[in-house]
Amino acid sequence: MASIRTRLSSTMTRLVVAIFVLQLLSSALAIFFLRGQMLDVVHADRVRQVVDVREDLLAAYYDGGRAELADFIANRRGSASDPTVFTALTGDGPPVLSNLTRAPDLPPSTQPLPVVVHRGPGAAGIEGVAVASVLPDGELLVVGVMSATERRFDLAFATAIGLTIAVAVALALASALVLGVVISRRTHEIADTAAQLAKGNFGARVAVEETGDGFDHLRMQMNLMAERIDRLVSELGSISGALAHDLRSPVARLTAAIDTALVRVDEPAALEALHAARADADALRQMLDTALEITRLEGGATEDRRVPLDLAEVAQDLVELYEPLAEQSGFELVADTAPVTVRADRELLSRALANLIDNAMKYGGRHITVRTRADGHHGEIAVCDDGAGIATEDRARVVERFVRLDNARTLPGGGLGLAMVAAVAHLHGGELVLSGDDGLIASLRLPR
């Protein structure tokens, strides 16, 4: 559930809340608009009803005079039978009232007007619309409709609003969550690819869905960028590879020339100079070899010679190889091994490990341990020393080709060792991890 929590953090939460509030506002607006529309319709209906009733009453008046009209009102005939309809006929005689206790005070008009009427003594006034017309005999006919129904409407609307809000809250929450998770998943997908690229896996790409939306645009741009990085990196690699390859022949001739001179010279000073030149030519050749090897390894242009291999044996063999030299140079080199079998290329792995041991003897302290152990799904083979170590901020940098730290510039070496080790690790689907608080632990983690 931790992932859900992180997914809903900060930006996500704000986005979700914003979507929620907006959705709520829009439902509320819709409801109020609907209410207004309905009230308008109801009002128009009522006006029509008032006009209809008046027509009926006037028709009765013209048919049978005032008596007929009074009877029509008193007996609530025809359209006047509606319980919300009220009528009043006032004039010279006693007023004729229907559904009223007192005639409303209303000026004559052609259109119905709002009015407050009373249906019983002491009863509260009821709102309604009514129209007053003057009859030819001078009496005043008031016809109206009470709007009690509008109150019921408002009540219904209040319930509706409550319900709608409840449903909207649920829906908004659900959709915001879904949207949040979808957006979060997509951005995480893209970010994961970026992380892969940052780790040096330049083949990583995001799957493009061709939906044409902003995410897709981002994915496509991301892939274009990755493509370009990939090309630049491989160009760089092949340039350094080609350079190394082209330099080998001149170095071979240089070595040959020095060797030829060595057997023909007797003068001690000249011999010494030639030996020094020979040693440098050897170092140069070795650097070129390693640079070429890295290019080959990184390009994956090497045959798969991985076999099930006990890392403990690999470690013991190398410790056995280096131990006499270490002892002579005043180091303590020991193996601390637990059996763990991984699929690995013995030659490449040994070469990588030899580089690490060599490094430890150059820059490390007095005690060097070659350690193997099983760690979950990984087999680990590590060279640990008690030297000055490598500062945390420099650790990512030292595995790059030709990078050497300032304190290492005075010692021989081409700055290719760790890059080669990292390339071997990657070829095995593993990684080179540099750690350690006192001294350095250079560890190859290989999948079991």
Binding site: R248, S249, R253, R351
Partner: protein, 228 residues
Amino acid sequence: MAGRILLVEDDPQIADYVARGLDEEGFTVDRADNGRDGLFLATDSQFDVVVLDRMLPGMDGLALLKAMRAAEVQTPVIMLSALGSTDDRVAGLTAGADDYLGKPFSFAELLARVQALMRRRGAPAKAQETTLRCADLELDRLTRMVRRNGRKIALQPREFRLLEYMMLHQGEVVTRTMLLEAVWDYHFDPGTNVIDVHISRLRRKIDDGEEQPLFHTVRGAGYRLGLD
């Protein structure tokens, strides 16, 4: 140890350097600077060893080697190549090369390997013997006992294999690279004098207190086991 060697190499400077060196060691050297001439010479005449460059104009070294072996020419071949990776080495050995040397190489390394190939050709039976002897040094490959002048010498397993290899190649120059390949089965250069220290440990166990040293350092090349 005179012998006849075919050198197939297109780089004139490397070819001159190798030919001159072999000539000084008393070998007769025939040269070819392209693959077709090389194949023609290799199948047409008798040589003790063929030194063959991997990348050649006309016909690639690997193709030449395969054609040679197909024509049942079993002359030992040592392949030279600027392609020094394990893949390239394995490809060369699979095609029928007897040894493989990455460029650049020192002449001493090439010479030691050429001589080793010639000796192996002359005396192939030694690898089967159970007791190896060199002057008063005796190594029993079954009981893994080593004695010198009656004195029992205790050796670590790797020291035993090192001495065994030296005794199998006694009288020959063995280089550090040859030892690393044969005794440790590593094909990379550990870059320091790792092997020298192993040899000096072994040398102390064998030669200390003896009148006649059996271990000899050959300057610029490697080591040799034997009297004088």
